[in-house]
């Protein structure tokens, strides 16, 4: 070992030495001119934007370091690498922190961003810091709002009434994944309930097949378990819609992946919290049904779908006709069927489905096997393949056919008779994007009592958030925001209703940042130091051009009347609040 071999260097000193050098050299900026002139090839390296809930953790460091290898590699290979970084900086943690500290959510958010920025610089990451963005900046969420309007124009963003997980403590909607196994909120531990709310959705289901097909392209290059998880998430299944006639009511329409087992459908189950159940229930059974419904509302979807859960339910006092056997079969309400999956009702085939089997055994309902299990079969429901049995009526027989052939045969017969249609179903659901709290991009829709949903004109974006802090943000202060609106300074701001819908941060996570960063004004703007929050009238407002329209975005789901229809705009010099001319009279009436 040589003398040199013993030598070493001071790691900390070296870190302090190189960071300013990289900054001085602007070493990682992607040069637009070099690309536009064709001198250099271009690459786009995009990694996940962190949520600024504190400093970075080891998981961030790992992911960012892996990404950095790729970005640096292509730069050395002579490409201009567009490698931006940003922060997914809207979200409930900032809001809760603001309530705790009696401050603005921006204070917490932008302070954490600065902390994380320092860490990233210490990691020596090759980001193009001239292309930095925060999804909570009006300059950015202007484009979130613009995209939302484009989606809405195409019918890909829409509102519907639907039961959602509701945390009464946080006063917010939760994704299924945010409800713990014991039915409590992952953040605050409160018992999560179901609530019918009119909410904004992205129509992700319109792309279910396309998404499914495109996964083929990732098969070679992606990790198998990730691709499979995606496939299962989309959950494509071929099957049929079948109608079961009910006396004195519309037929009950169900989706089944196993129309071949229709002869074994010995009862039906409707989701207890589906409207259908309330419509079908007989007068005698109504009290029993309603007490069961109250219990159901407390359970999370994930619990409800668990296979080992005791199968509870209540008979609705009505019967439906099995379209292939002609038999009258009882209709039950239960919690193991979800209201917003498929049609909210199922045909129960206990012979071929374990949950139906458990339910039949618990409530003493008949079981008919329609697929021959193997000779040594000792289990309960048999979900495997085999020849059909007990599956014939006067017109059609499936007996002896294998599952696929039996499916085709019975779908043909159902379609001929007008009793059903072959179809494809997906587990993927439309993406709920409203969040019933403050710190998110306001949805640029005016709820006008006369015209209904009115999109804010594009040239008046962004619709900015009102300035709220501390206890203003507390849940269960329902009228506070509405009151703010009446103040002279805030009248020109969006009169965001207490329950106005702002998108969850998932919305921004799925926003194509490339587009937005390309048009971000930030590049020509010097980085601000402190305070980082864009103050009104400060540099931020001036970079966003003339102060834009402030509109009412209140959607007040579940309450009426709509809290306001005030909208106001700036003409450049005056900022007098205006009222939507057509809505003026009704607005006054509402007040």
């Amino acid at each position: 070992m040589s003398e040199q071999e013993q030598a070493s260097y001071d790691v900390h000193a070296v870190e302090a030495k190189w960071q300013p050098v990289w900054e001085r050299l602007d070493a990682f900026r992607a040069d637009d001119a070099a690309v536009l002139s064709g001198r250099r090839e271009k690459r786009y390296a995009l990694t996940m934007f962190p949520y600024p809930s504190g400093d970075l953790h080891m998981g961030h460091a790992e992911v960012l370091a892996l990404h950095d290898v790729i970005a640096r590699y292509w730069r050395l290979r002579g490409h201009e690498v567009l490698n931006p970084m940003g922060w997914d900086s809207f979200g409930l943690p900032a809001e809760n922190a603001a309530i705790r500290n009696d401050s603005h959510p921006a204070t917490y958010t932008y302070a954490n961003i600065e902390t994380q920025l320092e860490s990233m610089k210490r990691y020596g990451l090759a980001f193009d810091w001239s292309r930095r963005l925060h999804t909570s900046d009006p300059e950015y969420y202007k484009w979130t709002q613009w995209l939302f309007l484009k989606f809405r124009e195409q019918g890909l963003a829409y509102r519907k009434n639907s039961p959602v997980n509701w945390c009464p403590q946080d006063q917010t909607v939760l994704a299924n994944e945010q409800v713990l196994a014991d039915g409590t909120c992952e953040r605050c531990g409160a018992e999560v309930t179901k609530k019918e709310l009119t909410q904004w959705y992205f129509r992700t289901t319109a792309y279910a097949q396309e998404l499914y097909d495109c996964l083929d392209q990732l098969q070679e290059t992606w990790i198998g378990k990730v691709v499979n998880a995606q496939r299962n998430w989309i959950g494509r299944s071929e099957g049929a819609h079948v109608e079961f006639p009910v006396d004195g009511h519309e037929p009950i329409r169900v989706f089944t992946t196993r129309p071949d087992t229709l002869f074994g459908a010995t009862f039906m189950v409707v989701a207890a919290d589906a409207k259908l159940a309330a419509e079908l229930v007989s007068d005698e059974q109504r009290p029993a049904y309603e007490s069961y419904l109250a219990e159901t509302r407390k359970a999370s979807d994930i619990d409800r779908l668990a296979t080992d859960r005791p199968k509870t339910g209540v008979f609705l006092g009505v019967h439906a006709t099995n379209p292939v056997t002609g038999e009258q079969i009882p209709v039950w309400a239960a919690d193991y069927v979800l209201a917003d999956y498929g049609t909210g009702a199922i045909m129960a085939v206990p012979g071929q489905d374990q949950r139906d089997w458990d339910f039949a055994k618990a409530h003493d309902l008949p079981v008919v096997r329609t697929v021959q299990p193997p000779a040594d079969w000792e289990g309960e429901a048999y979900v495997g393949s085999g020849p059909a049995i007990n599956s014939a009526n006067d017109e059609v027989s499936l007996d002896g056919l294998d599952v696929d052939e039996a499916k085709r045969t019975i779908i043909g017969w159902l379609e001929e008779k007008g009793l059903g249609t072959g179809t494809v179903n997906y587990r993927l659901r439309d993406w709920l994007l409203s969040r019933q709290r403050y710190w998110g991009a306001p949805i640029p829709i005016i709820h006008c009592p006369v015209d209904g949903e009115v999109p804010v004109p594009e040239d008046q974006l962004p619709v900015e958030l009102p300035e709220l802090r501390g206890s203003d943000l507390k849940p269960r202060a329902p009228r506070r925001w509405a009151r703010r609106r009446s103040g002279s300074t805030s009248a020109a701001r969006p009169a965001v209703g207490r329950r106005s819908a702002t998108p969850t941060r998932w919305t921004r996570s799925s926003t194509p940042r490339g587009t937005s960063s390309g048009t971000c004004r930030r590049r020509t703007t010097p980085r601000r130091s402190t305070p980082p929050w864009p103050r009104r009238g400060g540099r931020w407002t001036s970079t966003s051009g003339a102060t834009s329209t402030r509109c009412c975005t209140c959607s007040t789901p579940g309450s009426s009347p709509r809290c306001c229809a005030t909208w106001a705009w700036s003409t450049g010099t005056s900022r007098s609040p205006r009222t939507c001319p057509r809505a003026r009279s009704s607005t006054r009436a509402a007040r």
Partner: protein
């Protein structure tokens, strides 16, 4: 990065930062032992080390593009060891191949350990920054590191042996076999019905 393929889960308790640091220090020391000037023609350097450098570069590009970063790091470690050996018990720190190898180590390390790489680059006499350096293109001739012996059979009997690259393609090997004087002599003008090629080891000619 050093620990495992990116898709694997990592238990950070099992990862030793001191191990990584020792490696980086070892790489960095190379830059202090290079005694030639920047820009010295590498072509005059030690052939064995030059081959190791060229092979590492070619492999590293492939490994990065297929996201096998941990293997890339392992290949850089091998190059560091080879360079160390050349300095201590081989051609010595003045050989141009040693400079070429150390510069390659700095450039490759800049992907995973930019601070160490910058220190090395500076000590090797270059202006900052290594992030703005160019990826060196390895000389293709240096990539033919070894040859293997391919056996050529005619009608099941060994008639020739060829020294070929381990990467030789089936088509190239077949052409080389059919052009070999001994093979031509044994074929004696007969029509070739089939050629079975198992590159780089075997060619079987059926007439």
């Amino acid at each position: 990065m050093f620990a495992s393929p990116p898709e694997d889960n990592i238990d950070w308790a099992d990862v030793s930062p001191s191990g990584s640091l020792r490696f980086l220090q070892r790489a960095w020391r190379l830059s202090g032992d290079v005694t030639s000037e920047p820009g010295v023609p590498a072509a005059e350097g030690d052939l064995e080390l030059r081959r190791a450098t060229a092979r590492t570069l070619a492999d590293a590009a492939q490994l990065v593009e297929s996201y096998r970063f941990n293997v890339m790091v392992a290949r850089v470690m091998e190059l560091v060891n080879a360079t160390r050996k050349a300095i201590d018990s081989g051609v010595g720190g003045a050989d141009p191949a040693v400079r070429e190898a150390a510069e390659t180590v700095a450039i490759l390390l800049s992907l995973v350990a930019p601070y160490t790489a910058e220190e090395m680059w500076e000590r090797l006499g270059h202006e900052p920054s290594v992030a703005q350096a160019a990826w060196p293109e390895p000389d293709p001739e240096l990539l033919v590191v070894d040859t293997v012996t391919a056996v050529v059979q005619v009608q099941g009997k060994v008639r020739a042996r060829l020294e070929v690259s381990p990467d030789v393609s089936d088509a190239d090997l077949e052409a080389a076999a059919l052009a070999d004087p001994d093979v031509v002599r044994f074929l004696d003008g007969r029509e070739v019905r089939r050629v079975i090629v198992r590159a780089p080891k075997l060619v079987n000619i059926v007439v």
